[in-house]
């Protein structure tokens, strides 16, 4: 077991990245990164998400919690799954949703990011859901919005994708129970470009996961990855041996600069997850993938569609987790009263 890192510094974000996420009372105001948030907040997100799963299974999939609130999806980078699940989450909470695809909008006419923001802010919105190709973009926006607005990071560069990480934690908890202490979680693939992996590692360590492993060729690992509190492997079968959870990552070719890999075929030969390779993991191991999956590159179709794959469950849970984060940031949570009846409202 490696030492858990205390506060890994991300040069792009700075030391105080986690501070602006909480309000004076310690409640979640923005959700920008899983880094620096305590296990209490992460667990509360998971518990609240658990409550919302029932809404998604009703025939009328809507509750009036965020009625009258306006959520703006600000997507500076293409996304289908994430944007759609954020939109569904907001709509199931009765919020109004505005989808703004900035890449085809004002910024291409020369407007600065801050001017774009101020214009949308002038429309009296309550929440920005931000996806941007630059690391730190959501944090920058959170620092510049009006105080009544909450910002949720829907992925910034290679930095963080906290709601994806939390829906992954939710998927693990649903399958493996609430105690992460005995779990071995293996994250395989393009860690270097993966904001998902970074957010997962922070969340897994905060939730006291027994053994967090990353498995990748050296060219696809960030320098000093060990300091994030993970065990590093370069061989797939050694790395996933006896794993409870195997998380496969997509090769992010669009972010790769220079020759990091000889070829996709060779990558598949060495790191592609097949039924045969999966035999070394625990019998009840689950296979996860944040999507979109590249069949035959990082994962074989038999595994992706197989009995141990929970890839589509991840998508379903994503809605409940995003509903949880939205209600937590837009409403303060009250004290809980255990085992006493409602006080006769």
């Amino acid at each position: 077991m490696v030492n858990k890192a205390t506060k890994p510094t991300d040069a792009l974000i700075g030391h105080d990245a986690w501070n602006i996420q909480l309000d004076k009372n310690g409640n979640l105001k923005h959700f920008l990164t899983t880094e620096g948030l305590g296990s209490e907040i992460l667990t509360r997100i998971l518990d609240t998400a658990e409550s919302f799963t029932s809404v998604n299974e009703k025939s009328v999939k809507k509750v009036p919690l965020l009625r009258g609130k306006t959520v703006v999806n600000l997507f500076f980078e293409a996304s289908t799954r994430t944007r759609t699940t954020f939109e569904l989450a907001a709509k199931r909470l009765s919020a109004d949703v505005l989808n703004i695809n900035i890449s085809t909008s004002a910024t291409s006419k020369g407007e600065t990011l801050l001017d774009t923001l101020q214009n949308i802010q002038a429309m009296h919105c309550d929440m920005f859901v931000v996806r941007h190709s630059d690391s730190g973009a959501a944090h920058y926006i959170a620092n510049h919005v009006a105080p009544n607005i909450s910002v949720i990071n829907a992925g910034d560069g290679s930095h963080a994708h906290p709601t994806q990480a939390m829906l992954d934690m939710f998927t693990i908890r649903r399958n493996k129970g609430e105690d992460f202490g005995n779990l071995r979680v293996a994250i395989v693939g393009d860690i270097l470009h993966s904001r998902v992996a970074r957010s997962q590692i922070h969340a897994l360590n905060t939730l006291n996961t027994g053994d967090v492993r990353v498995i990748a060729p050296k060219t696809l690992l960030p320098i000093d990855i060990e300091h994030m509190g993970v065990n590093v492997f370069h061989d797939l079968e050694t790395g996933i041996k006896d794993a409870d959870v195997v998380i496969m990552l997509r090769l992010q070719k669009e972010r790769m600069q220079g020759a990091l890999l000889p070829s996709e075929q060779e990558y598949y030969q060495l790191y592609g997850l097949t039924e045969e390779r999966l035999l070394v993991a625990k019998k009840d191991a689950i296979v996860m993938h944040p999507g979109p999956i590249n069949r035959g590159v990082e994962i074989d179709s038999n595994v992706a569609d197989g009995a141990r794959s929970v890839i589509l469950d991840q998508v379903s849970y994503g809605i409940a987790v995003r509903m949880a984060v939205m209600t937590m940031t837009l409403g303060r949570e009250p004290e809980t009263e255990e085992n006493t009846a409602g006080d006769g409202q």
Binding site: S51, K58, K62, G331, T336, N339, A341, D343, G344, Q345
Partner: protein, 180 residues
Amino acid sequence: MQQLATPDELLAQMAEKLKTLLSDKAIDNPLMVGIHTGGVWVATRLHQQLNNSTTIFSEPLASLDISFYRDDFSRIGMNPKVKPSQLPPDVDDRHIILVDDVLHTGRTIRAAMNELFDYGRPASITLVCLMERGGRELPLQADIVGEHVKLNQGEHIKLTGPEPLAFELQQQSHKNISNG
């Protein structure tokens, strides 16, 4: 403060009253729904007592958690551990017996009815409360009440349970009753 009967004494009387009311209204196959948390405790007992000799309810007890329907969410936020509402998929044309512990402002009942109507269009809703106190803020009244209680300024009553059920009288001053 008046002397209060025990919840169990009240429940026996309420079960009888409810049986009479159902036959007066000629309601067949009603669906009983308890409101979390105290209402479920009360409803569990009523459901059991009414089904003791003859089968009045063909289905198990249903339950509602009204957390998602509260009107004070923007002021006090949400309880993270909301119990899933357990209702049959279709409440269209059903006669619903809605059960709560203490009827006070009426806002819980308003929220519960909103949630019920998200599931369908019930034929009727009958409200049953173990305890009724003053302080209504909405035009609502219960069809069957175990006991009417008069409280002094600042007094507050709540049901504790689930085993045994008991009333607990509280002085309100030390606690901010924001969702009363």
